[in-house]
Amino acid sequence: MSKFAEPMTRLIDELKKLPGIGSKTAQRLAFHILRSTDDDAEALAAAVRDVKASLRLCSICNNITDVDPCVYCSSPTRNQRLVCVVEEPTNIAAIERTKHFNGSYHVLHGSISPLHGVGPEQLRIANLMRRVEGGEVDEVIIATNPTVEGEATAVYLSEHIRRPGLKVTRIAMGIPVGSDIEYADEITMLKAMEGRREL
């Protein structure tokens, strides 16, 4: 027997599915919702529904958007011939924060992950291939994570999109700004040396 009424148990169970939410937090949230006004509870339910109903993937870059093409792909001031490839939509925000990248994006929605059965055929790259094949792109910057999976994805991508006239680059890996070289691990240091540039 559950210690809560059925609708409450159901709400707690649904909340528990969210990342980082355990039983205790789910109960706290559920009771908060129960105590809130009808309007607030309805607004929350509607927001959850709308996010699924109105958001979709940009047909050009796979970013999550409510208008297609997305704001980056439809911007006349951004360089559409420069494409930065990222693993997740949230990675775009990290790059946008630099305020120094004025190209467009392509979102893979994941990376190659053999241990999870994810191979290259599961990556969303068909629309990127079309852009590249159509001669719409001068440079592709591959900004997947500096992990084994991110590297495997980068290497696979570069092998498949490479063609005359297209520049394919990989973001640099290395020592974090503000840290100390002394504390860098062997592989980070090696990558930093590989990615050195001329001054």
């Binding site: 500096p146 974090p176 860098a184 691990d185 062997e186 090696l190």
Partner: protein
Amino acid sequence: MALKESEAIVLRTYPLREADLLVTLFTRLEGKVRGVARSAKKSRRRFGGALEPLTYVKASYEDRERQELTRLDSCEVLESPLATQVSYPRAVALAHVAELLDELLPDREANDAVFRLALSVLAGLRGTEVWMPVTYFELWITRLMGYLPDLSECITCGRVLNGNRAFFHALADGLMCLDDKRLASSEISAESRTLAAQMFRAPVESFAGAPWPKALGADLRKFLIQTLQRHIEKKLVTAGMLEKISS
């Protein structure tokens, strides 16, 4: 409790709570050990690239009273798979080694032979060659786990198979002669059986350099994977991924 220090190979990591990572290590000191790396997900400062799968590390960890999970204190990279280019076939091969070690090794039981095998195969996987080290690893790990039957005789009639055709089946515990083979058996060539015999006599380095296409020893690998999967009673994810690689 005291801090333990051991060479180790990182097998897998899983996100745990907001900022931590659950790490499975194959330590030289006491075999497979599971531990928590606090704040490893959020701040990479402490562990850097050391927790990437198949990184050879020097790990310090501390067991906690009445807790199954150890606390991973630090990991120093001895060798990273990221030091050389990670092609897709190489990524799958590395994942295959990690999956096999994770599935086959019992918790907290040192196995120095398997540890040495893993290290030498990881070294063999530094370059672009994939099928040779994978074949070598599958063969040896099957033997070291005690799952490899005698490849020289028929399990049904005991006849010597050397010089004769030999067959295997997903539900059979060894090889069979032409007369005793089951329905829907696969054949393992004499060439592949010779290869296995050679691999038992020489270190992995001695097979490096020569071209090794996917077809070479494919029947042997299929037999080994079937044998391993029968013992662990589940399908290996990475075996299917390897199968799909084209060359």
